[in-house]
Amino acid sequence: MSDTPAFAKPGDPPGTLRLSRPLVRTPFDAAGAERLAHIWETRPGWRGWFSTVDHKTIGLRYLVTSFLFLLLGGIEALVMRVQLAQPNATVLTPEQYNQLFTMHGITMIFLYASPVLSGFSNFLWPLVLGSRDMAFPRLNAFSYWVFLFAGIFLYASFPLGEAPNAGWFNYVPLSGLTYDVGPNIDVYSLGMVLLGISTTVGAVNFVVTLLRMRAPGMSIDRIPVLVWGTLTASGANLFAVPSVSLAFLMLWLDRRIGMHFFDVSGGSHALLWQHMFWIFAHPWVYVVVLPAMGIVSDALPVFCRRPLVGYGPVAISTVATMVVGFVVWIHHMFATGLPPLALSFFGAASMVISIPSAVATFAWIATIWTGRPVFRVPFLFFAGFVLLFVIGGVSGVMTAAVPLDWQLTDTYFVVAHLHYVLIGINVFPVVGGIYFWFPKFTGRMMSERLGRIAFWLMFVGFNLGFFPMHIAGLLGMPRRIYTYGADMGWTTVNLLTSIGSFIFALGIAVFIVDVLYSRKRGPIAGNNPWDAPTLEWTVPSPPPPYNFAVVPTIASRHPLWEGRMQGEHEEGTHEGPRSRLADGYLLDQGREALGTTALEASPYVILKMPEDSYAPFWLGLMAALFFAGLALRAWFFAGLALVLAGVAIIVWLWPERELIQREPTPVARS
C-alpha cells in the first residue's frame, strides 16, 4: 500500500474535498484505525460532554436517564402500595395519591418505556447496521437533550405539591380550568409538547438511518428484528405524536389563553379529547413494546444456538401490529356511549391484533423448541417475557370483547393487564437486553449469580404482585381509588400485591447492584462473548468511536455464523456469497459514512458526517426555556428563548464547505 490515502488524487493540497471519488476496497490495518480514532473521538472534559454526537454515548445516556426515571416511578408505585396494603390507610391524602398515580403513569410510559428503547436503538443501530453513526448525529444529541429537559420539566412542579393530578390520560373536563386551577395540568400539557419534539426528531433519525445507513449488501430482508421494531415504532411516531401534542397544546390554549376547544357548553364535544389522546396513545402502546419484542427476537436465538424461526413472518407481523394498531383506539372508549357499529368494528380490530402477536409468540416458542437452549441469565429474562406476554395478551383479548370490557373497564383488571403488558413486554426484555449487551456497552460481563437472583426475585415478585390485581378487578375494585373499606373483600389481594411489588423492587435493586459492580469489576468480555451472529459483535467491546475501521459487506442475516449452520446451502448449488468483514471500504477523509440505497443497500453516496457541536445542547435548552416561559406566562422571556432557538437552528443549518453542502474549494473542482 502506498502512503497516499486511497481516495485522494496525487497533487491535491491537504484538506481537499472532492465532489466524487472512486470506492475501492482496502484491508483493515492498525495505522488506519488509529487515524480514524483521531478523526472520530470526542474531546475530553466538559467540552466533549456537551458537544458529543457519538451515538454510543447518546445511547448510554438514554439508557441511564430512562432507568433513573424507572426508579423514580417505581418509588412512587411503592409508596402507593404502602397506602393500599391495608384498608382505610392514611399514609397519603387523596390529592397526594392523585399526583402519585399520575406521575407514576407519566414517568413509566413517557420517560422510561420509550426512551429506554431509544437508548438500545441509538447504541445498537449503527453497530448492527454496519455504519459509522446515525444519519443525523447532531439531531440525535438534540433528541436526548430535549428528552432530559422534558423529563425535568414534567417533574418541576412535583416538589411544590402541584404535580399533574388528572391521570396520565388527563381527560377533560377534569383537567380543564374549572376543576384544576393550579399549574399541575399546565406543566403536563407543555411538558408533553416538549417531549413530543424529542420523540419526533428521534423517529425521523431512525427512519432515515434505516433508509440510508446500512452496510452494503444488508438488503431490507437482512436487518435484525430490533431494527424492524424500532423502525415500525418510529414510523408510527411520525403520524401519532402530532395528535397528542396538538391535544395538549389545545388544552393549554383553553386553560391559559381562554380558547374553547374542549368547552362543551360553548358547542364543543365531550369526547374530542379522548379521541385525540387515544389516536396517539394506542399506537404508543406498540411503540413501547415492538422494539422490546425485537430485542427478544434477536437475542433469544443466540441462546437457542439457532437462527430465529420465521424471520419473515415475525418482521411482517411487527409492521402489521402497528398498522392495525392505528385503528383500535376506540377500545379505550367502549364505555362512552359510542354507536354499536363503531364498537363492533373497533372490538373486532382489537382482536385481530392477536394474530400478528401470536405469530411472534409461536416463532419464539419454536425457536426455543427446535434449538439447544443455553440457560444463561438473558435467556431466563426472554423466556419469562414470553410467558408474561401470553398472560398479558390473553387479558387484552378479553377486554377487546365489548360486553366484557363494560364489566371490567376502570377496574384493577385493566391495571393488571397493562402492567403485564408493559412490564412483561418492556421491562423483562430490557433487563435481559442489558445483560446481553452489557459486555458491548462496557467491555465487561455481568454476574451470572446475581443475575439469576435478580431474575427470580423479579419474576416471582411480579406475578405475586400483579396477578392478584386481576382478581381485585373481578371483585369490582375500581382503579385510582386512594383507599377502600375493610368490608369490601379486597384486603387480601391488595396485601399480596403490595408484598409482590416490594419483592419485584428488590429484584430491580439486585440488578442495579450487579450493573454497578460489574461495570468496574466484571470479567473482561471479548468482542463476542455469547458467540452471537450479528455485526455489533465483530467490533471491540466497547466499540471504538468510529465503530468499523472498514465498512463491511453483508451477504446474509448472520454474518458471524456463515459456514457453521446446518442446512445452510441446501438450496444453492454453490457456496453462495459471503459477508466480508475483514476488508471493505475505507472512508477516512474526515468523518465519513457510506450511504446506500433503501432496499438493496448498494453503495450510493459517500456522506460527510458532522463534527461535534454545541448547537444541539443550546437548541434543546432554548426550547425548554421557551416552554418554561409559556408555563410561567412570561411572554417576553418565552419570545426571547424562541428567537435564540431560531438563531441556534440557523447556525446549525448554515451550509458548510466541510460537509460539501456548499460549492467545493476551487482546486478540487473535478
Partner: protein
C-alpha cells in the same frame, strides 16, 4: 446528474459475487470489483437532509391532518352557527391561494437557474417568491381583521385562528428559509452540482403551499355543504 448510471447500481450484485469467489486467494486490497465513482457529501436527493425533510413533511402533514380532523369533527356535531357570521367569502381567499401557489413556481425556478449557473436570475426568482409569500401573509392578516370575533370569543374562532395561525407560522418560517436560501445563492454558495439546501428548503416551501389547499378546502369550501 441526479440518477446514477445504470452500471453503478445494476452491476453491484455481480461485483460482490465476484469478490466473494476471490476471497480465499486474492489480496483483499486488489479485489476485482471495479472501483465505482460515488458522489461525496450532500448530493441533491442522495443527501440525508432530503429524506429528513420528507419525514418532517410526513409528521407535519399529520399535524395539519389532526387540526382539520378537529375542525370537521366539531363542525359536523356542533349545534351552533357555523361559521358564526355566515358562509365564508371566497374571492379574496381564492386569489390568495393562487398567490401562494405561484410563489412555489419561482422557488423551483431559482433552483433551475442555479443549476444553469445563472446566479442573478436565481436571486431575482427567489426574491419574487419571497415577495409573493409576504403578500399572502398581508392578505391573510387582512382577512383576520375582517372577522368580528377573535380566537377566544367562541369555538369557531378558536379553530379558525388556530388552524390558519399554524399555517401562517409555517409560512413565516418558510419565508425565513427562503430569505436564507436567497442570501446563500447570492453569496455563490451553490453551483450546478451542489444545491442540496435549495432543493430541501424548496421542498419544505412546496409542502407549506400544498397544505394550504387542504386548509382552504376545509375552512372556505366545506361550510357550503356541511352547513
Amino acid at each position: 446528474m441526479e440518477q446514477p448510471p445504470r452500471s453503478m447500481t445494476g452491476s453491484s450484485e455481480h461485483a460482490w459475487a465476484g469478490a466473494a469467489r476471490a476471497q480465499a486467494d486474492a489480496q483483499a486490497g486488489t479485489s476485482q470489483a471495479p472501483a465505482r465513482m460515488l458522489p461525496v457529501g450532500s448530493a441533491g436527493e442522495r443527501s440525508s437532509g432530503w429524506l429528513g425533510c420528507l419525514m418532517l413533511i410526513a409528521t407535519e402533514g399529520a399535524l395539519f391532518g389532526y387540526l382539520l380532523f378537529t375542525y370537521l369533527y366539531l363542525a359536523v356535531q356542533t349545534t351552533r352557527h357555523w361559521p358564526p357570521e355566515g358562509l365564508p367569502k371566497l374571492p379574496l381567499g381564492a386569489v390568495n391561494t393562487l398567490i401562494l401557489l405561484s410563489s412555489s413556481g419561482f422557488v423551483w425556478l431559482c433552483e433551475r437557474m442555479v443549476r444553469r449557473a445563472r446566479v442573478r436570475a436565481a436571486v431575482v426568482s427567489m426574491t419574487v417568491a419571497v415577495l409573493l409569500g409576504v403578500v399572502f401573509v398581508g392578505i391573510q392578516l387582512h382577512e383576520w381583521h375582517g372577522h368580528p370575533y377573535g380566537p377566544v370569543d367562541n369555538l369557531y374562532g378558536s379553530l379558525y385562528f388556530t388552524i390558519t395561525g399554524f399555517h401562517l407560522a409555517h409560512v413565516l418560517i418558510g419565508l425565513i428559509v427562503l430569505v436564507l436560501l436567497g442570501v446563500w445563492t447570492a453569496l455563490g454558495y451553490f453551483d450546478a452540482k451542489r444545491y442540496a439546501a435549495l432543493k430541501i428548503g424548496g421542498l419544505y416551501w412546496h409542502f407549506v403551499d400544498v397544505v394550504w389547499l387542504f386548509i382552504f378546502t376545509t375552512i372556505y369550501l366545506t361550510p357550503y355543504w356541511i352547513g
